[in-house]
């Protein structure tokens, strides 16, 4: 067995006893491999005695699961109403210019920092009160 199938088998076994184990399993697989691809879907389906279609339906529903791993660092920029009110749209161009092809800029709807936007997230680090210069620095250091 490949390393990947072994690891996925372990993740399935870890959560198998839980009520509604699929999302915890998918969260762990996404965290371990950076994606939930077709191979992972098939392995999880087998482990939970579900059809591949069942698992794919769930995987494709949620924004957090990616079909392919992307090695680039990710900067999540909040572009919901409160951050829009604080001018996030005007500084997104600065982030994109700094990102180029090296960094992935993702949109999220709300990091819960609505009183001190514009806000962004890199990994588990949060950033507030961004302007064109600080968001560019954030992207460059990602």
């Amino acid at each position: 067995m490949s390393d990947k199938s072994t690891r996925i088998g372990e993740i399935v076994a870890l959560h198998h006893h839980r009520e509604g184990p699929l999302l915890p399993i998918l969260n762990d697989v996404q965290a371990a491999f950076g994606c939930v691809d077709a191979e992972a879907e098939a392995l999880i389906a087998k482990g939970l005695n579900l059809s591949r279609a069942d698992v794919h339906g769930v995987v494709s529903f949620y924004h957090d699961y990616k079909p392919q791993a992307d090695a680039r660092p990710v900067v999540q920029v909040c572009r919901a109403e409160a951050c829009k009110a604080r001018g996030v749209e005007a500084i997104v161009a600065a982030a994109e210019a700094a990102a180029g092809a090296r960094v992935k800029i993702e949109t999220v709807y709300c990091l819960g920092l609505c009183s001190a936007g514009p806000a962004a997230r890199t990994g588990d680090d949060l950033h507030i009160r961004l302007d064109a210069q600080s968001i560019a620095e954030l992207v460059e250091n990602a």
């Binding site: 949620y62 924004h63 909040c78 919901a80 819960g112 920092l113 009183s115 588990d124 949060l126």
Partner: protein, 514 residues
């Protein structure tokens, strides 16, 4: 040794609180990481002997310790932002260390659960009902009635599910509570479990809140013995806004697509895995320990306005000078919240619009500032309180663009189960684009004049497109299965009603050439 209090709330940390704490420790101070007072424009806020300094940076450390800092704001509890509040749900904000069992017990923690165990399930439900507590998640359904339904429902296995999927822009009270006072939420769930006879609880939490996930998991480990035999665990979502809708959330929790379920059956009768389930918001559950400690007919019932009892944690967000969390009894006016408490816009420009209740809430005009915070009053004004979020926009905001965004958001986040939401939102974006472009131009595609209101040969003028948008919004409002499609018309139509020039005034009508 000087005791320095600095918040470990995610917002304070994002503002540099960790570095600040390390700097004070390096100076030989004892640092306590407490919850946030909610004065977010002052975060990171440093507290020494009750005196506040903020927003503090590393450069301020020496001056703060020397007593010469220009960041001093005086005694925190006397600050007008704090002094004017009535805090029940956030009584511990700023005062306790979130994961300290000692601090929690010393501030009345677990007293509600102890009393709940003494008086038994029927009496617990009676007290919650008497308190007038309504769901703080948006719909405002009476909590006691929901609990009573679950209590009386037949079934060996029952569940308490905390809906912590707060995804509304402009709201962060759930996050603040989970990070600042996690035991209060857990105690509320344990009381609910006692009330209805549930064995298992789940906190369904969004993946966008990494700090809250960590804190709740740590808190659950610490207090497992106290809440036993009730068991509770955190479940993390996967980035789907619609999972904040309770039946979507239950599907997601079961490991399915987060599609909305048709009601009935009510989750109270057939919820998680088909069993009777209490689904409550974070703030509703966190309000419960206080009600049980004090007695339902006392303090909580005596605060509020009309049929909206108790306090509402209001979140001041967006372009506002004094952004943060403000807990007060119902009945305060919108103008007081925005101008007096919030201090107007952060940019110093005039207020143009205020969105109340998150992305599905109406945009209110400053002319409506005398509207009173109360579920019924807002409903009568074609608006909603929702989760108590208030997002302020200054006069640079383009309300046509915001209306378009509301439709775009609905299209992106629709679960797809019902047509008015799935397709209506996509069409809504298109119509708003056409209105803003001055109407639909003749392009040979539109050939259904008997169904649509378009003259066959002349395209549609902006006014006709507005009629179509209005019609579409009516269909979404009354034809959608859940609030996502059903409430998206609120921001769209309120923006259209209050600022029509932002839809039609930005470009002239294009000529139809032939």
């Amino acid at each position: 040794m000087t005791l320095v209090k600095i918040s470990d709330d995610a917002l304070a940390r994002a503002g540099g609180a960790d570095r600040l704490a390390a700097a004070f420790e390096a100076k030989g101070c004892e640092v306590h990481r407490v919850s946030s007072w909610g004065m977010h424009w002052l975060e990171p806020l440093v507290e020494i002997d009750g005196q506040g300094f903020g927003p503090a940076t590393l450069a301020d450390v020496e001056a703060i310790l020397a007593g010469t800092s220009d960041k001093a704001i005086g005694t925190i509890t006397e600050h007008p932002f704090i002094a004017g509040q009535v805090r029940y749900t956030f009584a511990r904000a700023g005062k306790t260390r979130p994961l300290s069992m000692e601090d929690y017990a010393a501030t009345g923690g677990w007293a509600g659960l102890t009393r709940a165990r003494q008086i038994g399930s029927e009496a617990i439900v009676a007290e919650v009902t008497a308190s007038g507590l309504r769901g703080r998640g948006g719909a405002g359904f009476p909590t006691g009635i929901k609990w009573d339904t679950v209590r009386k429902a037949p079934g060996d296995r029952k569940y308490i599910v905390c809906n912590a999927d707060e995804g509304d822009s402009g709201t962060f009270a759930d996050r603040a509570l989970m990070e600042g006072d996690p035991f209060a939420l857990i105690e509320g769930m344990a009381i609910a479990a006692n009330a209805v006879g549930a064995q298992q609880g789940y906190i369904y939490l969004r993946s966008e809140y990494p700090d809250a996930i960590r804190k709740l998991n740590a808190a659950l480990d610490l207090c497992a013995d106290i809440i036993a035999p009730f068991k509770c665990e955190v479940r993390v979502g996967a980035g789907a806004y619609v999972c904040g809708e309770e039946t979507s959330l239950l599907n997601s929790l079961e490991g399915k697509r987060g599609e909305v379920r048709a009601k009935p059956p009510l989750p109270a009768l057939e919820g998680f895995l088909g069993s009777p389930t209490v689904v409550n918001n974070v703030l509703s559950l966190a309000a419960v320990p206080h009600i049980l400690t004090e007695g339902g007919s006392s303090a909580y019932q005596n605060i509020g306005f009309g049929r909206s009892r108790g306090t509402m944690p209001i979140q001041l967000a967006g372009n506002i000078r004094h952004g943060g969390l403000y807990e007060i009894g119902f009945g305060v006016t919108l103008g007081q919240l925005v101008n007096d408490i919030g201090g107007g816009t952060a940019s110093g420009r005039p207020v143009k619009a205020v969105q109340v209740g998150g992305p599905l809430g109406a945009y209110l005009h400053p002319d409506q500032f005398d509207i009173v915070f109360d579920y019924e009053t807002y409903t009568a004004a074609d608006a909603l309180i929702g989760h108590g979020g208030i997002t302020v926009f200054d006069d640079t905001a383009d309300m046509g663009a915001m209306a378009r965004f509301a439709m775009e958001f609905c299209a992106a986040e629709s679960c797809g189960k019902c047509t008015p939401c799935r397709i209506g939102a996509v069409r809504g974006v298109e119509i708003i684009d056409r209105i803003r472009a001055g109407g639909r131009q003749r392009d040979g595609v539109e050939v259904l004049p008997q169904i649509h209101n378009a003259p066959k040969d002349a395209g549609r003028e902006a006014a006709q497109e507005i009629g179509l948008l209005t019609d579409l919004c009516e269909t979404m409002k009354f034809g959608s299965l859940c609030a996502l499609g059903g409430f998206t018309p609120y921001p769209v139509m309120s923006a259209l009603k209050n600022w029509p020039e932002d839809f039609t005034g930005r470009s002239s009508l294009p000529e139809v050439t032939e």
